[in-house]
Symmetry: C2
Protein backbone atom coordinates (compact mmCIF):
# COMPACT_ATOMS: atom_id res chain seq x y z
CA UNK A 1 0.00 0.00 0.00
CA UNK A 2 1.55 3.27 -1.10
CA UNK A 3 0.00 6.54 -0.13
CA UNK A 4 0.42 9.39 -2.57
CA UNK A 5 1.54 11.56 0.30
CA UNK A 6 4.62 9.44 0.94
CA UNK A 7 5.79 9.40 -2.68
CA UNK A 8 5.25 13.16 -2.84
CA UNK A 9 7.84 13.52 -0.09
CA UNK A 10 10.55 12.05 -2.36
CA UNK A 11 12.47 14.69 -4.29
CA UNK A 12 13.84 14.00 -7.79
CA UNK A 13 17.27 15.51 -8.46
CA UNK A 14 18.34 15.49 -12.11
CA UNK A 15 21.95 14.68 -13.04
CA UNK A 16 23.06 13.37 -9.63
CA UNK A 17 25.50 11.78 -8.97
CA UNK A 18 26.24 12.10 -12.71
CA UNK A 19 24.64 13.45 -15.86
CA UNK A 20 21.64 11.48 -17.05
CA UNK A 21 20.73 9.98 -13.65
CA UNK A 22 17.58 11.21 -11.89
CA UNK A 23 18.35 10.70 -8.20
CA UNK A 24 15.52 9.92 -5.80
CA UNK A 25 16.27 12.00 -2.71
CA UNK A 26 14.64 10.43 0.34
CA UNK A 27 16.02 12.95 2.84
CA UNK A 28 12.91 15.06 2.24
CA UNK A 29 10.81 12.15 3.50
CA UNK A 30 13.16 11.47 6.44
CA UNK A 31 13.04 15.05 7.70
CA UNK A 32 9.23 15.06 7.73
CA UNK A 33 8.19 13.43 10.99
CA UNK A 34 4.89 12.19 9.58
CA UNK A 35 6.60 10.96 6.42
CA UNK A 36 9.27 9.13 8.42
CA UNK A 37 6.70 7.54 10.72
CA UNK A 38 4.30 6.74 7.88
CA UNK A 39 6.92 5.07 5.70
CA UNK A 40 8.33 3.18 8.67
CA UNK A 41 4.93 1.86 9.69
CA UNK A 42 4.37 0.53 6.16
CA UNK A 43 7.81 -1.13 6.06
CA UNK A 44 7.18 -2.63 9.49
CA UNK A 45 3.77 -3.83 8.26
CA UNK A 46 5.51 -5.98 5.60
CA UNK A 47 7.29 -8.03 8.30
CA UNK A 48 5.07 -7.64 11.37
CA UNK A 49 4.39 -10.90 13.18
CA UNK A 50 7.45 -12.70 11.76
CA UNK A 51 10.35 -13.66 14.02
CA UNK A 52 13.53 -11.84 13.01
CA UNK A 53 16.91 -12.25 14.76
CA UNK A 54 18.92 -9.70 12.75
CA UNK A 55 18.08 -6.78 10.52
CA UNK A 56 20.83 -6.16 7.98
CA UNK A 57 21.04 -2.55 6.75
CA UNK A 58 23.00 -1.68 3.61
CA UNK A 59 25.30 1.34 3.90
CA UNK A 60 24.45 4.03 4.46
CA UNK A 61 20.89 5.08 3.66
CA UNK A 62 19.71 1.57 4.52
CA UNK A 63 20.86 2.14 8.12
CA UNK A 64 17.98 4.52 8.86
CA UNK A 65 14.88 2.38 8.42
CA UNK A 66 17.04 -0.71 9.08
CA UNK A 67 17.81 0.47 12.61
CA UNK A 68 14.19 1.46 13.25
CA UNK A 69 13.05 -1.98 12.04
CA UNK A 70 15.59 -3.72 14.31
CA UNK A 71 14.28 -1.76 17.28
CA UNK A 72 10.62 -2.49 16.58
CA UNK A 73 11.32 -6.19 15.83
CA UNK A 74 13.49 -6.64 18.94
CA UNK A 75 16.28 -7.83 16.67
CA UNK A 76 19.99 -7.03 16.42
CA UNK A 77 21.29 -4.69 13.70
CA UNK A 78 24.05 -5.66 11.25
CA UNK A 79 25.68 -3.25 8.77
CA UNK A 80 26.75 -4.24 5.27
CA UNK A 81 29.38 -1.72 4.17
CA UNK A 82 31.71 -0.75 1.36
CA UNK A 83 35.15 -2.42 1.53
CA UNK A 84 37.60 -1.28 4.20
CA UNK A 85 35.10 0.29 6.58
CA UNK A 86 34.43 -2.62 8.92
CA UNK A 87 37.27 -3.11 11.40
CA UNK A 88 37.19 -6.85 12.15
CA UNK A 89 37.37 -9.96 9.92
CA UNK A 90 34.86 -9.72 7.07
CA UNK A 91 33.17 -11.70 4.34
CA UNK A 92 33.29 -9.93 0.97
CA UNK A 93 31.18 -10.16 -2.20
CA UNK A 94 31.94 -8.47 -5.51
CA UNK A 95 29.20 -7.36 -7.86
CA UNK A 96 29.19 -6.02 -11.39
CA UNK A 97 28.29 -2.42 -12.18
CA UNK A 98 27.55 -0.91 -15.58
CA UNK A 99 31.24 0.01 -15.83
CA UNK A 100 33.38 -2.02 -13.48
CA UNK A 101 33.10 -3.96 -10.23
CA UNK A 102 32.24 -2.96 -6.68
CA UNK A 103 32.02 -4.94 -3.45
CA UNK A 104 30.33 -5.07 -0.07
CA UNK A 105 31.48 -6.55 3.21
CA UNK A 106 29.95 -7.87 6.42
CA UNK A 107 31.69 -8.96 9.62
CA UNK A 108 32.11 -12.72 9.50
CA UNK A 109 30.69 -13.08 13.03
CA UNK A 110 27.71 -10.75 12.47
CA UNK A 111 25.20 -13.47 11.64
CA UNK A 112 24.88 -16.81 13.41
CA UNK A 113 23.95 -20.03 11.65
CA UNK A 114 20.16 -20.22 11.45
CA UNK A 115 19.52 -16.53 12.21
CA UNK A 116 16.30 -15.28 10.63
CA UNK A 117 17.23 -12.15 8.68
CA UNK A 118 15.46 -9.14 7.22
CA UNK A 119 17.65 -7.16 4.80
CA UNK A 120 16.76 -3.52 4.18
CA UNK A 121 18.07 -0.92 1.76
CA UNK A 122 16.57 2.37 0.66
CA UNK A 123 16.63 1.70 -3.10
CA UNK A 124 16.24 -1.26 -5.46
CA UNK A 125 17.81 -0.30 -8.79
CA UNK A 126 19.60 -3.04 -10.77
CA UNK A 127 19.72 -5.26 -7.67
CA UNK A 128 23.47 -5.93 -7.74
CA UNK A 129 24.22 -4.61 -4.28
CA UNK A 130 21.32 -6.48 -2.69
CA UNK A 131 22.19 -9.71 -4.47
CA UNK A 132 25.71 -9.41 -3.01
CA UNK A 133 24.29 -8.64 0.45
CA UNK A 134 22.12 -11.77 0.23
CA UNK A 135 25.17 -13.88 -0.60
CA UNK A 136 26.98 -12.48 2.46
CA UNK A 137 24.07 -13.35 4.74
CA UNK A 138 23.75 -16.86 3.34
CA UNK A 139 27.53 -17.48 3.46
CA UNK A 140 27.32 -16.72 7.19
CA UNK A 141 24.46 -19.23 7.56
CA UNK A 142 21.58 -16.77 7.87
CA UNK A 143 18.09 -17.45 6.50
CA UNK A 144 16.65 -14.54 4.54
CA UNK A 145 13.01 -14.04 5.55
CA UNK A 146 12.41 -10.84 3.62
CA UNK A 147 14.13 -8.08 1.67
CA UNK A 148 12.59 -4.63 1.84
CA UNK A 149 13.18 -1.34 0.07
CA UNK A 150 11.70 2.10 0.46
CA UNK A 151 11.92 2.71 -3.30
CA UNK A 152 11.95 0.38 -6.31
CA UNK A 153 12.97 1.55 -9.78
CA UNK A 154 10.86 -1.18 -11.38
CA UNK A 155 12.00 -0.33 -14.93
CA UNK A 156 15.53 -1.52 -14.03
CA UNK A 157 14.16 -5.00 -13.20
CA UNK A 158 16.40 -5.52 -10.15
CA UNK A 159 13.70 -7.79 -8.74
CA UNK A 160 14.68 -10.43 -11.33
CA UNK A 161 17.98 -10.99 -9.48
CA UNK A 162 16.12 -11.56 -6.20
CA UNK A 163 13.32 -13.80 -7.44
CA UNK A 164 13.79 -16.52 -4.81
CA UNK A 165 13.13 -14.10 -1.95
CA UNK A 166 10.13 -12.27 -0.49
CA UNK A 167 10.88 -8.80 -1.91
CA UNK A 168 8.84 -5.79 -0.80
CA UNK A 169 9.02 -2.14 -1.76
CA UNK A 170 6.95 0.78 -0.64
CA UNK A 171 7.19 3.23 -3.54
CA UNK A 172 7.65 1.93 -7.06
CA UNK A 173 8.56 3.95 -10.16
CA UNK A 174 7.69 2.51 -13.58
CA UNK A 175 9.84 5.06 -15.43
CA UNK A 176 12.38 7.77 -14.63
Amino acid sequence: MVTTDLSQLIRSIPDFPKKGIVFKDITTLWKDKDGLKGAFNELYGFIEGKHIDKVVGVESRGFVFGAMLADRLNAGFVPVRKPGKLPAMTLKENYVLEYGVDAVEMHEDAIEKGDKVLIHDDLLATGGTMEAACKLVEKAGGEIVQISFLIELAFLKGRDKLSKYDVRSLISYDSE
Copy 2:
Protein backbone atom coordinates in the same frame (compact mmCIF):
# COMPACT_ATOMS: atom_id res chain seq x y z
CA MET B 1 24.24 5.41 33.88
CA VAL B 2 26.49 2.89 32.15
CA THR B 3 26.05 -0.77 32.70
CA THR B 4 29.15 -2.90 32.55
CA ASP B 5 27.32 -5.25 30.20
CA LEU B 6 26.96 -2.58 27.53
CA SER B 7 30.61 -1.57 27.52
CA GLN B 8 31.59 -5.25 27.39
CA LEU B 9 29.76 -5.47 24.07
CA ILE B 10 32.17 -2.96 22.49
CA ARG B 11 35.11 -4.61 20.77
CA SER B 12 38.54 -2.96 20.65
CA ILE B 13 40.42 -3.41 17.37
CA PRO B 14 44.10 -2.43 17.48
CA ASP B 15 45.67 -0.58 14.53
CA PHE B 16 42.41 0.31 12.72
CA PRO B 17 42.00 2.31 10.55
CA LYS B 18 45.75 2.87 10.92
CA LYS B 19 48.66 1.79 13.09
CA GLY B 20 48.51 3.11 16.64
CA ILE B 21 44.74 3.68 16.75
CA VAL B 22 42.61 1.40 18.92
CA PHE B 23 39.23 1.39 17.19
CA LYS B 24 36.09 0.96 19.28
CA ASP B 25 33.91 -1.39 17.25
CA ILE B 26 30.26 -0.89 18.16
CA THR B 27 28.91 -3.40 15.63
CA THR B 28 29.21 -6.08 18.34
CA LEU B 29 26.78 -4.07 20.47
CA TRP B 30 24.45 -3.40 17.52
CA LYS B 31 24.15 -7.08 16.58
CA ASP B 32 23.17 -8.04 20.13
CA LYS B 33 19.45 -7.36 20.43
CA ASP B 34 19.63 -6.76 24.17
CA GLY B 35 22.69 -4.55 23.75
CA LEU B 36 21.04 -2.53 20.99
CA LYS B 37 17.85 -2.11 23.01
CA GLY B 38 19.70 -1.41 26.26
CA ALA B 39 21.97 1.25 24.77
CA PHE B 40 19.08 2.83 22.92
CA ASN B 41 16.94 3.04 26.04
CA GLU B 42 19.77 4.82 27.87
CA LEU B 43 20.31 7.29 25.01
CA TYR B 44 16.57 7.90 24.86
CA GLY B 45 16.54 8.42 28.64
CA PHE B 46 18.93 11.39 28.20
CA ILE B 47 16.34 13.29 26.12
CA GLU B 48 13.01 11.77 27.20
CA GLY B 49 10.32 14.36 27.88
CA LYS B 50 11.97 17.11 25.80
CA HIS B 51 10.33 18.33 22.59
CA ILE B 52 12.53 17.59 19.57
CA ASP B 53 11.63 18.49 15.97
CA LYS B 54 14.65 16.95 14.22
CA VAL B 55 17.26 14.40 15.13
CA VAL B 56 20.49 14.97 13.21
CA GLY B 57 22.60 11.83 12.69
CA VAL B 58 26.23 12.10 11.65
CA GLU B 59 27.30 9.75 8.85
CA SER B 60 27.24 6.88 8.95
CA ARG B 61 27.37 5.13 12.32
CA GLY B 62 25.38 8.02 13.81
CA PHE B 63 22.46 7.07 11.57
CA VAL B 64 21.64 3.95 13.59
CA PHE B 65 20.74 5.28 17.03
CA GLY B 66 19.89 8.64 15.39
CA ALA B 67 17.07 7.05 13.39
CA MET B 68 15.82 5.07 16.39
CA LEU B 69 15.80 8.28 18.46
CA ALA B 70 13.87 10.15 15.74
CA ASP B 71 11.26 7.40 15.71
CA ARG B 72 10.81 7.31 19.49
CA LEU B 73 10.75 11.13 19.76
CA ASN B 74 8.28 11.52 16.86
CA ALA B 75 10.81 13.78 15.17
CA GLY B 76 12.16 14.01 11.63
CA PHE B 77 15.62 12.61 10.78
CA VAL B 78 18.35 14.68 9.11
CA PRO B 79 21.68 13.28 7.88
CA VAL B 80 24.99 15.15 8.11
CA ARG B 81 27.29 13.63 5.51
CA LYS B 82 30.74 13.81 3.98
CA PRO B 83 31.02 16.23 1.02
CA GLY B 84 29.42 15.28 -2.28
CA LYS B 85 26.98 12.69 -0.94
CA LEU B 86 23.87 14.85 -0.47
CA PRO B 87 22.15 15.56 -3.78
CA ALA B 88 20.49 18.95 -3.23
CA MET B 89 21.83 22.37 -2.14
CA THR B 90 23.93 22.05 1.01
CA LEU B 91 25.56 24.03 3.79
CA LYS B 92 29.19 23.00 4.35
CA GLU B 93 31.57 23.29 7.32
CA ASN B 94 35.27 22.51 7.28
CA TYR B 95 37.07 21.20 10.33
CA VAL B 96 40.70 20.60 11.16
CA LEU B 97 42.13 17.11 11.56
CA GLU B 98 45.49 16.13 12.99
CA TYR B 99 46.90 16.23 9.46
CA GLY B 100 44.71 18.25 7.13
CA VAL B 101 41.14 19.43 6.78
CA ASP B 102 37.86 17.59 6.32
CA ALA B 103 34.27 18.78 5.92
CA VAL B 104 30.65 17.85 6.53
CA GLU B 105 27.49 18.91 4.73
CA MET B 106 23.78 19.18 5.46
CA HIS B 107 20.95 20.05 3.08
CA GLU B 108 20.23 23.74 3.44
CA ASP B 109 16.48 23.06 3.76
CA ALA B 110 16.85 20.21 6.27
CA ILE B 111 16.31 22.31 9.40
CA GLU B 112 13.73 25.08 9.79
CA LYS B 113 14.34 28.22 11.79
CA GLY B 114 13.51 27.50 15.43
CA ASP B 115 13.58 23.70 15.11
CA LYS B 116 14.57 22.00 18.36
CA VAL B 117 17.41 19.63 17.48
CA LEU B 118 19.10 16.60 19.01
CA ILE B 119 22.41 15.72 17.32
CA HIS B 120 23.69 12.17 17.64
CA ASP B 121 26.92 10.48 16.67
CA ASP B 122 28.42 7.20 17.77
CA LEU B 123 31.77 8.54 18.96
CA LEU B 124 33.14 11.70 20.61
CA ALA B 125 36.88 11.80 19.95
CA THR B 126 38.49 15.23 19.38
CA GLY B 127 35.07 16.80 18.75
CA GLY B 128 35.90 18.38 15.40
CA THR B 129 33.18 16.65 13.40
CA MET B 130 30.51 17.40 15.99
CA GLU B 131 31.58 21.03 16.32
CA ALA B 132 31.14 21.36 12.55
CA ALA B 133 27.76 19.61 12.68
CA CYS B 134 26.63 22.09 15.38
CA LYS B 135 27.63 25.01 13.15
CA LEU B 136 25.59 23.56 10.28
CA VAL B 137 22.50 23.22 12.48
CA GLU B 138 22.86 26.74 13.87
CA LYS B 139 23.53 28.25 10.42
CA ALA B 140 20.19 26.78 9.35
CA GLY B 141 18.48 28.37 12.37
CA GLY B 142 18.09 25.27 14.53
CA GLU B 143 18.33 25.28 18.32
CA ILE B 144 20.53 22.51 19.72
CA VAL B 145 18.81 20.94 22.71
CA GLN B 146 21.28 18.11 23.26
CA ILE B 147 24.23 16.30 21.72
CA SER B 148 24.56 12.60 22.46
CA PHE B 149 27.18 9.97 21.81
CA LEU B 150 27.31 6.26 22.43
CA ILE B 151 31.03 6.45 23.25
CA GLU B 152 33.27 9.23 24.55
CA LEU B 153 37.07 9.02 24.42
CA ALA B 154 37.36 11.38 27.39
CA PHE B 155 41.18 11.52 27.22
CA LEU B 156 40.91 13.37 23.88
CA LYS B 157 38.92 16.18 25.56
CA GLY B 158 36.50 16.65 22.66
CA ARG B 159 33.93 17.86 25.17
CA ASP B 160 35.92 21.12 25.55
CA LYS B 161 34.89 22.13 22.01
CA LEU B 162 31.21 21.58 22.87
CA SER B 163 31.11 23.24 26.29
CA LYS B 164 28.09 25.43 25.58
CA TYR B 165 25.86 22.43 24.87
CA ASP B 166 24.20 19.67 26.89
CA VAL B 167 26.59 16.85 25.97
CA ARG B 168 25.79 13.25 26.97
CA SER B 169 27.66 10.03 26.41
CA LEU B 170 26.83 6.51 27.45
CA ILE B 171 30.21 4.79 27.65
CA SER B 172 33.30 6.82 28.51
CA TYR B 173 36.92 5.71 28.21
CA ASP B 174 39.56 7.51 30.31
CA SER B 175 42.44 5.97 28.38
CA GLU B 176 43.01 3.90 25.26
